[in-house]
C-alpha cells in the first residue's frame, strides 16, 4: 500500500490564504494613524471598597473618563473602581440580565432618553439624597433648571449628569473662504440658509445649483447635509413649534410643525440640491475630505476634528435657526444607580459621582459639555471654543425629547420613515403619517 504523504504545497497555500484573510481582518485597525482603543475593562486603584461601573463610552471619551476615574482612586485610596465599557445596545441588554442574575453593576452611565424605560422596568433607584448643599451632596442650583427636569420622574430625581450634549453646526472655514463667505456669520432663517448653501455647493464644472447648466447628478461639493436624520428632524420640529409626544399621549411628528420640518430637509436635497441623499453617504468623512461646507452635528464632533483631523480649520455655530424659533435637540450622559446598590457600596458610589461631577471640567476634553454651570464658566475659550458655544445654546434653547418609556421603540418606528422620505422613496406626508400611525399604536400600548 502506497504511503500517503502530507501535501506541503497545500499547507503552504493554506497558510498564505489564512494570512490574506487575517490581513483583511486587521485592515480597519492598521488604517488608523493613532488608534487609542478604550479598554474593555479598566481597573483604577486598589482600595477595599470596589465600585463596579458600566458605561457605553467606547470612543476617546471613554479614555478621558478612565483618566478621571484613576485620579479619583488616587485621591481616595480606600476605593477602587472597575470600569467596564461596552457599546450602548449591549449595556442596555446586559443590565436587565445582570439584575435578574443578581450581578448588576453598582453604577451605570446611560442617556437621559433611556431613563423612563429603565425606571419603568424597576431597574433604577431614586437619587434625591445626592442633591443638596451638604458636604457629600451636589447643589442642584448649579445645573440648568430645564436640563435638571429631564432627570425627574414621579417627582424624584433618578440620575446625576455626567455632561450635556446635543446638536449644533460646524463649518469648514476653507470652503467658506473659497466661496467668499464669512464663516463667523451664521444665517438666520431657511431662505438665508439655502442661499448660503447654494453658494457653497458645486458640481464638477464649478457651477452652483441656482446657475444654468448645473448638473445635480455630478455634485462634488455640498453646501450642507441632513446628517443624523432623526436629530436634525427633532431639532427642526422643535424650531417649528412641534412636540415629539403631545400632552394627550399621541405623537406630534406628523403635526403641521413636523411636516414643515421634514419638508425643509427634503427640499435641501431634492429642490435646492444643496444636500446629498443620506443613504450611502458618509457625512463625517465627507466633511473631513472638504466635500461638505456646513454640517449639523453633535458636540462630540469636536474630537473627530481636533484629534483625527487637526488640519481642518473649522468654526462652530449654535444650531442654525431654520424655523420660527431657536431650538436644538439635546441629551445627556447620566449616572444612574441600579436598585441593587445599597449600604457601603451606595455611599461609595455617591462619593464617586460627586467627585466626577465636581471635576467634570476635565470631561470637556471628551468633546462634551460639563453640566455644572459653575464649571461651564471656567472653560478656556482657546481650548474649548465648541464646548462654550454649545453650552450657551443648550442653556438658552436646548430641548430634551418628551419623556416616554417607549422612546427606543418610537425611534425604531420613526427612523426608517425619515430615511425613506429623504431618499426619495416616500413623500413627506406619507412617511410621517406612516411613522405616526405606528408610533401612536406603540404609545397606546403603554
Amino acid at each position: 500500500m502506497a504511503k500517503r504523504t502530507f501535501p506541503m504545497g497545500a499547507l503552504f497555500v493554506t497558510v498564505l490564504a489564512l494570512a490574506f484573510a487575517f490581513s483583511l481582518s486587521i485592515t480597519p485597525l492598521v488604517a488608523q494613524d493613532n488608534p487609542t482603543p478604550t479598554p474593555i475593562v479598566a481597573e483604577a486603584g486598589s482600595g477595599g471598597t470596589q465600585i463596579v461601573f458600566w458605561n457605553g463610552l467606547t470612543g476617546s471619551d471613554g479614555v478621558t473618563l478612565n483618566e478621571m476615574t484613576k485620579k479619583f482612586a488616587e485621591e481616595n485610596p480606600g476605593y477602587s473602581v472597575r470600569t467596564e465599557s461596552m457599546v450602548w445596545d449591549v449595556l442596555y441588554q446586559k443590565l436587565q440580565a445582570a439584575l435578574v442574575a443578581g450581578d448588576a453593576p453598582d453604577v451605570v452611565v446611560m442617556h437621559t432618553d433611556e431613563m423612563p424605560q429603565f425606571v419603568n422596568f424597576g431597574a433604577l433607584q431614586p437619587v434625591d439624597f445626592i442633591y443638596g448643599t451638604g458636604p457629600d451632596q451636589i447643589d442642584p442650583a448649579d445645573f440648568s433648571p430645564s436640563a435638571l427636569e429631564s432627570l425627574k420622574m414621579n417627582d424624584q430625581y433618578y440620575g446625576v449628569f455626567l455632561d450635556n450634549h446635543g446638536w449644533g453646526t460646524w463649518v469648514n472655514n476653507a470652503l467658506f473662504e473659497a466661496a467668499g463667505l464669512d464663516p463667523s456669520q451664521p444665517p438666520v432663517g431657511f431662505d438665508a440658509f439655502v442661499e448660503m448653501a447654494q453658494k457653497l455647493t458645486l458640481d464638477a464644472n464649478g457651477k452652483h445649483p441656482n446657475e444654468e447648466g448645473f448638473d445635480p447628478e455630478n455634485i462634488v461639493q455640498y453646501g450642507t447635509t441632513v446628517s443624523w436624520m432623526r436629530v436634525t428632524f427633532l431639532t427642526l420640529l422643535y424650531q417649528n413649534g412641534g412636540r415629539f409626544v403631545n400632552e394627550d399621549g399621541t405623537t406630534g411628528v406628523n403635526s403641521e410643525a413636523g411636516m414643515r420640518a421634514l419638508q425643509m430637509m427634503h427640499d435641501l436635497i431634492f429642490k435646492y440640491n444643496v444636500a446629498p441623499k443620506p443613504a450611502g453617504f458618509d457625512n463625517w468623512q465627507s466633511f473631513a475630505a472638504g466635500r461638505i461646507a456646513i454640517i449639523p452635528e453633535g458636540s462630540w464632533f469636536r474630537n473627530f476634528l481636533v484629534l483625527d483631523n487637526p488640519d481642518i480649520e473649522f468654526t462652530v455655530w449654535p444650531m442654525v435657526q431654520l424655523g420660527d424659533q431657536p431650538a436644538t435637540w439635546m441629551s445627556a450622559h447620566v449616572f444612574y444607580i441600579p436598585v441593587t446598590t445599597e449600604g457601603e457600596k451606595l455611599a461609595a458610589v455617591q462619593k464617586y459621582i460627586k467627585w466626577i461631577s465636581d471635576n467634570s471640567i476635565m470631561w470637556a476634553e471628551s468633546g462634551q459639555i460639563p453640566a455644572r454651570l459653575s464649571l461651564q464658566a471656567e472653560l478656556d475659550p482657546d481650548t474649548y471654543p465648541s464646548n462654550i458655544v454649545f453650552a450657551q445654546a443648550f442653556n438658552e434653547f436646548g430641548r430634551f425629547d418628551e419623556m416616554t418609556p417607549a422612546r427606543t421603540e418610537l425611534m425604531s418606528a420613526l427612523d426608517p420613515e425619515l430615511d425613506a422620505v429623504l431618499n426619495g422613496q416616500k413623500s413627506v406626508e406619507e412617511g410621517l403619517n406612516a411613522a405616526a400611525e405606528r408610533m401612536n399604536a406603540i404609545l397606546a400600548r403603554g
Partner: protein
Amino acid sequence: MAQHTTRLVPDKPARPALLSAEGLRYLLARPSTREALVAYVFLTPFFIFFIVFVLRAIVQAGYMSLHDWKVLGTTQKFIGLQNYTELLNDDVWWIALKNTAVFAALTVAGTTALSLGLALILRRNLRGTNFFRSAFYAPSILSVGIVAICWGWLMNTDFGVINYALRSLGLRPINWTGDAAVVIPALSLVTIWWGFGFPMLIMLAGLQNIPEQLYEAARIDGANPRQVFWYITLPLLRPTLLFVTVTGFIAHFQVFGQPYFMTNSGGPGRASYTVILYLYEAAWEAFRMGFASSVAFTLAIILMIITLIQFFFIGRRVEY
C-alpha cells in the same frame, strides 16, 4: 390454513426477570446493551447541553410567546395568541419577510451556482488547484463584522474602490447600499463572496462520490460534456444540492449582520430590513420578549415549510 414451523435452533434459556439482580446481570452481560450504554455515555454531555440550552429554551420561548413578558417582571401576563395576531397584522413584518425571502433566494441561488461551478473546475487536478481551494474557502473564516466593514468601504458611494473603478471606466457610480432597488442584491453579493467556500467543499465531496465508471460509460456512449453534466453529474449530485440549499435557506433567512452593519439596520427606508432585525428590535430594543418569541416561532414554522418544499421538489428525486 394453519402453518407449521420447525425449530432449527435450540430454545434459548429462559430470560430472568428484569427487576432482579440476576436480570440486571443478564442485561449488562449482553454485548448490545454494553454498546448502547457506551454510546449513551458519550452522548450524555450533548444531551445535557441540548436539553438545557436548546430544548428548554425552545419550550420556554413557546411559553413566553403567549405572554406579555417583562424581563424584570415578577409575574407575567398571559395574553394567549395576541402576540401572533399582532405580528401577522403588522405591515412591517411582511416587508421584512419579503426582503428576507428575496435575499435568501438570491443568495442561495448565487451560492449554489458559484460553488458548483468552482467545484467542477477545482475537481480537475489542474496546476494551482490546492491554492484556489484554500483561497476560495478563506473568506468563510471571517466574522460578519469584518466582512461588512470591508465591503462597506469597498461599496462606499463616494470613497469606495468599486465606484472608483466604475468612474475610471466612464461609468456612473452605483449607490450600492443606498439605492432601494440595488441594496438587497448588493448584500446578497457580499454574502455569496463570504459564504460560498463551505458549500464549494461540500460540492467537491459530492462530485468525488460519483462513480468514475458512469462517466466512462457515458463517454463510450458518445455523450458530450454538457450531456454528461445534465444526465450524470447533476442527478447524482442531488443529495448534495439538497443539503446545500436546505442549510443555505435556513442560514440566509436569519441574515442579520450584513444589513445591521452595512445599511444602518435595514435602510434605505426599510428596503433591506429583515426578519431577524425585526426580532432583534422587538427583543433587545423594546424588550418585548413575548412578542419577539412569537416572531422566532413564526420564523421557525416558515423555515420548516420551506424545507418541506425543498424536500418535495429536490429530495423526492434523490438517488442515494
